[in-house]
């Protein structure tokens, strides 16, 4: 039998190495799946890990993909650190995109510098309010925020589906379920004229800096960690657990909503039945892989963005569906959790 023996000291080096080793082990396990499916490992390594970084175009796409992942994950870090489980970021992302997108559709044909900032704020508010629902249900009725936040993902997706097939459909789109194309005034533009890298990347960077300061240097950050690690002690210290639940859900919801409207405004340019490739769920893995640290999450988001870009090529080159990437994400989370366990415990044969 193997027994777990707690380590007395946790080394700093081990903390940094853990996610790297976890990533390597997950890649090795994914390689086994690929071998079982008779795919060439050499081609796979090239497609998933090298090609996305081999061209300026690829690096640009990686940065674009990492933007929503970073924004959402930074918000989720607060929730997970406070031991609250917001697994509905996908829904908050969709609501943010929908509400912000509504403003773009409503102002279609109008000019105005106010439109874009208003859209971003609407997106944040949408995600914030939608994120508050599970928090309120938890505080008021004692309902598990895990279940309610997840149920609301389905509701948000169906709502968007209804809107773009019904009231918001572009009458000139030949019955395609999509809204009108957004005007220039409603489009989050590129940082450099003619490029694709948009200002959302800057916002994601700002979010990382702000979250680092908030977590490490503010009373709020301390309250979050205290409530997560020692709820009773936090209570004695005067931190209100209910209010903290509201705060972390509002924060993670707002950032997911912001990510949603950025994606819609800068990348998609219209509303359509599906505006997310599971960013809200992938961001959970990003948060854990980044060891619940905003800078770590940024690095993790970049790593997973490389794989996501690679998986688009893999669908053509290796005839591998997106499911391969999803399976890998699950494996990766398991490996990260194992790494966490091994930093805290030693395995001993008995």
């Amino acid at each position: 039998m193997i027994a777990l023996v707690p380590r007395t000291a946790i080394s700093r080096r081990r903390e940094i190495l853990t996610p790297l080793i976890a990533f390597a082990v997950a890649v090795a396990l994914a390689a086994l799946i690929l071998l079982a499916m008779n795919r060439s490992l050499l081609v796979a390594v090239n497609v998933y890990l090298i090609e996305p970084l081999a061209s300026a175009w690829g690096i640009q796409e990686v940065l674009l993909k990492a933007t929503p992942l970073t924004l959402i994950a930074v918000g989720l870090i607060f929730a997970v650190r406070a031991n609250r489980w917001n697994i509905g970021a996908e829904g908050q992302f969709v609501v943010g995109g929908t509400l912000g997108g509504w403003l773009a559709i409503a102002t279609h044909g109008q000019e105005g510098v106010w439109i874009l900032p208003a859209m971003l704020i609407a997106g944040m508010l949408g995600g914030l309010v939608y994120g508050l629902i599970p928090a309120i249900l938890r505080n008021r009725f004692g309902i598990s925020e895990i279940l309610s936040s997840l149920m609301l993902v389905y509701v948000a997706e169906l709502m968007l589906d209804f809107l773009v097939r019904g009231p918001w459909r572009d009458p000139r789109a030949f019955n395609f379920p999509k809204s009108v194309n957004f005007d220039a005034a409603a489009t989050l533009g590129p940082i450099i004229e003619g490029g694709k890298l948009h200002w959302g990347i800057v916002l994601a960077g700002l979010a990382v800096v702000a979250a680092t300061l908030l977590l490490g240097r503010s009373l709020f950050g301390f309250a979050v960690s205290a409530t997560g690690e020692a709820p009773r002690a936090a209570n004695f210290a005067g931190f209100n657990a209910d209010r903290l639940t509201l705060a972390v859900f509002a924060l993670s919801g707002a950032l997911a909503g912001l990510a949603g409207i950025i994606e819609v405004s800068a990348n998609i340019g219209q509303l359509q039945p599906s505006i997310s490739q599971g960013y809200g769920f992938t961001a959970i893995i990003v948060a854990f892989l980044g060891r619940l640290n905003p800078v770590g999450a940024l690095v993790a988001a970049l790593a997973l963005a490389v794989l996501l870009i690679g998986s688009e090529t893999a669908q053509i080159m290796l005839k591998l569906p997106f499911d391969m990437t999803r399976a890998f994400m699950g494996l990766l989370l398991l490996c990260v959790l194992t790494g966490e366990a091994l930093t805290r415990y030693r395995l001993v044969w008995k």
């Binding site: 389905y154 169906l158 391969m324 399976a327 699950g330 989370l333 398991l334 194992t338 091994l342």
Partner: protein, 291 residues
């Protein structure tokens, strides 16, 4: 009369996967473990069960294989959440994400294929429906009236005390988790082989999560669990009929019903003053024996 019977049969067919998966998770949570991998174990059962049925040309074999596939996923969960004491919420999520991805690869060749005839498994009302009700009775009996059930509940209520008394905390939890996986896998296989009769990715559509909510709704009572599952079966059937009947409500709103009703059911439960009732004392906490 015939119509009423037909409706009842349809509801039973829709409710049965929820009953089976719910019973499995009920036992798991009684033992103090929160396995959020139900959706992943269920979809794995649906895919592998369907694949097995087509390859072996037997739907009965498919149900069996699907159940085992769910058990295998539960073993993965157990390896991490019990063996390495990892966070149960995150581990369950990982199992669900992994399962949802892997079935896309496993099920790919079977999309659009017909299932083999169900043969002797059907007697008017199919055998699995009846078996699920027997399973409910047996589960309630074992949990309430046997020594095994008492130990299982004790382990879930306070793993520290149970361990101090020399009871096998992890052994009991392993058995509960595997039982939960076998149940979820069977529920999934029933879904693809009997309910929809074809395989498509994402076909569980959140049923695993609804089963998890049903366990909360049941608040420790198997009878309430079965009643809740049939209530949800009725909602699922009503939603399908309303969509087919084109009653003027957009189909998306009807599709939202099961998810919204899940939340409503939990609110009603709370308003009835049963907030947090029936959850095992050590639910969701990892256990590491100190010696």
């Amino acid at each position: 009369m015939d119509l009423a019977l037909l409706i009842l049969t349809t509801i039973a067919t829709a409710a049965t996967p929820l009953v089976i998966a719910g019973l499995g998770e009920h036992v798991v949570e009684r033992a103090g473990v929160l396995n959020l991998g139900v959706e992943g174990m269920m979809i794995m059962g649906a895919a592998v069960g369907f694949a097995g049925a087509v390859v072996l040309d037997s739907s009965f074999a498919g149900l069996l294989i699907g159940s085992l596939a769910g058990g295998a996923m539960a073993a993965v969960f157990g390896l991490f959440a019990l063996g390495l004491a990892t966070n149960q919420v995150a581990t369950g999520l990982a199992v669900t994400i992994f399962g949802l991805g892997l079935v896309g690869l496993i099920g790919q060749p079977f999309v659009g294929q017909p299932r083999p005839p169900i043969g002797s498994v059907l007697f008017g009302l199919d055998a699995v429906v009846l078996a699920s009700l027997w399973l409910a009775v047996a589960t309630a009996y074992v949990l309430k009236r046997t020594r095994t059930g008492l130990i299982l509940r004790g382990v879930g209520e306070s793993h520290g005390s149970a361990h101090a008394l020399g009871l096998p905390v992890l052994g009991m939890r392993w058995r509960a988790v595997l039982f939960g996986g076998l149940c979820a896998g069977l529920a999934g296989a029933y879904l693809s082989l009997v309910y929809t009769r074809f395989w498509s990715p994402g076909m569980t559509a959140g049923r695993g999560w609804i089963a998890l909510a049903l366990v909360v709704f049941a608040a420790g009572s198997v009878r309430r669990l079965v009643a809740g599952a049939y209530l949800f079966g009725a909602i699922l059937v009503a939603q399908l009929h309303a969509q087919a009947g084109a009653i003027g409500i957009p189909s998306q709103f009807l599709s939202m019903l099961p998810y919204l009703m899940t939340i409503v059911a939990l609110v009603v439960l709370s308003l009835a003053g049963r907030r947090g009732a029936g959850a095992a004392g050590s639910l969701g906490q990892p256990f590491v024996p100190d010696r």
